[in-house]
């Protein structure tokens, strides 16, 4: 327990260190839920975020999957966007200049169909100071090849991370798939390859069927489930990964309330990414920054640091 004291009157310290990254607060936006960042400038106060993770970028622009791409389910949604994106070059030339001087750290999510593509992507972004870290998407459930294969085989994953490691000095975040028996095994593999940070988790593979047409709702049949429905599942994985892998973890999965943020921190996450909740309310992330500060102050908790992993320590 953290005791309330004189510090309860001071403003709590929201800053957090996630491996080599120092963030002004632990609230980031998740890849694929915040565009490239600038789209949100008129709907959200970007300055107040701890960081933002871009939509997954590939070497060439991708058109994405045919409709129907999304389906709402109880407490969440399925998506099968298919990594539609503008390509890394356009991001670096057109978008990054508008983001790089903002306080939130910019983490660039990278996606390839082959190991070599990840390496080339990492080389491409490496010279840009505005890129604080790269997040490797090795767990997208919505593309037929590449991506997910790298995230499901420990040997392949450690080899991939090792190659990316040699291509960039930027901190490497590896985004883990929940669709494996033991995410912590993949987390260890990422660590062996030289990853600095793990983010957990990507979406859970699911599906929905239209009872009127008697056909799957999504054009790709399967999609990734996100939203509040997955929070307890994601939390369990973050807890296990944080305990069993000696790397900082960024928690992701259905986060919408201050309580959700606290749970992920207590489970061992050093920061969190907010995703689907942004669709419901574009200001969710900044609301969580304010809410977390108020909550820590009310409880007399001096810093975010003191919460991290507290639930895993012997009571």
């Amino acid at each position: 327990m953290v005791s309330a004291g004189a510090s309860s009157l001071a403003s709590p310290d929201l800053s957090t260190r996630v491996g080599p990254l120092r963030l002004q607060n632990p609230i980031l936006t998740a890849s694929g839920t915040f565009g490239y960042g600038l789209e949100f400038a008129e709907r959200a106060d970007l300055h107040r975020l701890g960081g933002l993770v871009t939509k997954g970028l590939s070497l060439e622009p991708l058109a994405g999957n045919p409709p129907v791409r999304i389906a709402e389910t109880r407490g969440g949604m399925l998506n099968s966007i298919g990594l539609q994106n503008i390509g890394v070059d356009r991001f670096l030339s057109d978008v990054l200049p508008g983001l790089k001087d903002l306080p939130p750290k910019v983490i660039v999510n990278l996606f390839g169909y082959a190991q070599d593509e990840y390496v080339r992507l990492a080389e491409r972004v490496d010279p840009y100071e505005g890129v604080a870290a790269v997040e490797l998407n090795v767990s997208c459930p919505n593309v037929s090849k590449g991506g997910i294969e790298f995230g499901h085989d420990p040997d392949v994953l450690s080899g991939l991370v090792r190659r990316v490691r040699s291509a960039t000095g930027k901190p490497i975040v590896v985004k883990l798939s929940p669709n494996v028996t033991s995410p912590q095994t993949l987390g260890r593999a990422a660590q062996e390859g030289g990853a600095d940070i793990l983010s957990a988790v990507n979406t859970f593979v699911g599906m929905a069927i239209d009872t009127a047409t008697k056909r799957p709702v999504l054009s790709t049949i399967r999609g990734g489930l996100s939203g509040p429905a997955i929070k307890p599942l994601a939390l369990r994985i973050v807890f296990d990964v944080a305990r069993e892998v000696d790397l900082p973890v960024i928690g992701i999965g259905g986060i919408e309330t201050v309580d959700d943020v606290m749970e992920f921190l207590l489970a061992g996450a050093s920061a969190v990414q907010v995703g689907t909740a942004l669709f419901r309310d574009p200001r969710t992330a900044e609301r969580l920054v304010d809410g977390l500060r108020a909550r820590l102050r009310a409880e007399g908790v001096p810093s975010v640091d003191s919460l991290i992993g507290a639930a895993a320590r012997p009571g």
Binding site: G32, T33, F34, G35, E39, F40, E42, R43, K55, A63, G64, N65, P66, P67, V68, R69, I70, A71, E72, R74, G75, G76, M77, N79, I81, Q84, G227, P228, T276, L278, F279, R280, D281, P282, R283
Partner: protein, 270 residues
């Protein structure tokens, strides 16, 4: 034009009767919508459904203190629309808008001459409300083709009759059961009208996908330009989730919420 994300105060919800309803809400700081634009809305304080729903702005008028009073014409088809139909006056509901790209030929000020044909299928009339008002104000003549399964599906027929008649046009109705207007599909009188060379220069449509696809074919055959207000499932309404892809004839995809919801008829791979 910036969209506001605001709490709208529900003024009233009229059953037309159900499953159709007309919800009016006062939204502080919201800019007027262009014809064809939409808002993302949800019921008050409801955890479910999780995502907001896209609604065309059907009508609007200035409210007190710089607010905007918007009217949303809807049909209860699921949890999201039900949540809105069940709103009570005084409740505060999230409203994000106006969003999307409306009818280009209105925004551009182009094609303002000649008669227009507005073609609605059922609740698709909601997407043509502001357009009908704009044409009427601009003094441009239009006929309103309104098709539905049954008479109760032609929910705002009298409004569109009044507006079209003020422009020297008329309301043409069809129902599949013959309970109002001619029995059959609305594309039959539309096709006859466009063939007859009655001076139509533009077709605007909103309704089920099959209707809009048919209107696109008929308009192309008649050599008449047109636009459609499309609808897809939407996650966010403002371009973040990339969930609302519309397939274009050129093989690419456009986002319904940003490049749309209004597209030129010939752009879309129907």
């Amino acid at each position: 034009m910036a969209a506001v994300d605001s709490r709208g105060e529900v003024l009233d919800v009229q059953a037309l009767p159900l499953p159709y309803f007309l919800l009016r809400a006062r939204v502080a700081g919201m800019d007027p919508a262009e014809p064809g634009q939409f808002v993302m809305v949800a019921g008050a304080n409801r955890p479910e459904p999780y995502l907001r729903r896209a609604f065309s702005v059907y009508d609007q008028e200035p409210g007190s203190d710089g607010s905007l009073v918007i009217s949303l014409l809807g049909k209860v088809i699921g949890r999201g629309t039900e949540a809105l139909a069940e709103c009570v006056p005084g409740e505060r509901i999230p409203v994000l808008g106006p969003l999307g790209t409306g009818f280009h030929s209105v925004a551009d000020g182009a094609s303002t001459s000649g008669r227009a044909a507005l073609v609605a299928g059922g609740i698709g009339s909601a997407g043509l409300g502001l357009l009908a008002h704009a044409l009427e104000r601009a003094g441009r003549s239009f006929d309103f083709f309104y098709g539905g399964r049954s008479a109760e599906d032609l929910v705002e027929a009298e409004t569109f009759r009044r507006l079209s008649e003020r422009t020297g046009g008329r309301l043409v109705r069809t129902t599949e059961d013959g309970s109002a207007g001619e029995r059959g599909l609305i594309t039959t009188p539309l096709e006859a009208g466009l063939r007859a060379g009655t001076g139509y220069t533009t077709v605007f449509t909103c309704g089920p996908h099959g209707l809009m696809a048919a209107v696109a074919r008929i308009a192309a055959a008649a050599g008449i330009a047109g636009e459609a207000a499309t609808e897809t499932p939407m996650g966010c309404g403002y371009g973040a989730c990339l969930g609302c892809a519309v397939t274009l004839k050129n093989g690419g995809y456009a986002l319904c919420c940003r490049q749309g919801p209004v597209f030129r008829l010939e752009e879309v791979a129907w």
